[in-house]
Symmetry: C2
Subunit: 134 residues, 2 copies
Amino acid sequence: MERQTRQRSAVLGALTGSGQTLTPQEICHLAQRGVPRLSLSTVYRQLKQLLEAGEVVPADLPGQPTRYEAVCELAHGRADHHHHHFHCDACDRVYPIHTCPGPMEDLVPRGFQVQRHDLTLHGRCAECASTGPA
Amino acid sequence: MERQTRQRSAVLGALTGSGQTLTPQEICHLAQRGVPRLSLSTVYRQLKQLLEAGEVVPADLPGQPTRYEAVCELAHGRADHHHHHFHCDACDRVYPIHTCPGPMEDLVPRGFQVQRHDLTLHGRCAECASTGPA
DNA sequence: CTACGTGCAAAAAGTTTGCAATCGC
DNA sequence: GCGATTGCAAACTTTTTGCACGTAG
């Protein structure tokens, strides 16, 4: 069903090309390098389709606008790869964390069923930590 | 500086009274039982003051509107008590988790400095798990 | 009495949708 | 050519702000 439009490849290209976890705004700016008249609505619409197609996954960090990341770049080729995020408070970039502290079932009271967990680390990335160790 | 207004106690009362983690909307509805003409703006303004006063802490769950919780009820009396959250996908309630999987420094690449982490568990709470085990 | 707090309405920010024009297939 | 996709503008949601009135101290 999905048509191959310039906008679609520009959106996906912005994500895979950056190898990062981006907000819709950032995606729009990046993708406009290839398609100048690209609108933010189209970015949202394409993101929705790409989500359903499993080519992109959302990364909802607490207290921030939803970001998106390309599956192929960040998930090492596995569509369902479980990973977490590191948010640099200094440069506001988001890095994938491919390790996990392990099962969480023990943390909850009796009777609770844990199906999923999100972990977000905050701090300073290597670059910002070395630049200005505030 | 902070004045003791009916609105202020209604907002704080809604949080402490419920013992839950609530959205500003929920707080407003609850608090309007005592102050019917309470406006949502005032809820936000009081929440901001209560945050600064350390009587309330925000709980930003990924992909959801920000919720707030009263410190005294949920943090066992310690203003800086570190805790996490369990979100029930069925009833949409949020429960505090007072345990923690432990230090997270090992998860990040060399050079990264971890200062903080947020953990959100998702699943079904005891009540919903027993009611209808979907 | 005076200044902070309140309610309302409007604004800002992020996201979704309606619609006519466009473009892939 | 047909129908999905696009761009624009308007709607919607969550949160913030401007302003005149109310009220605590």
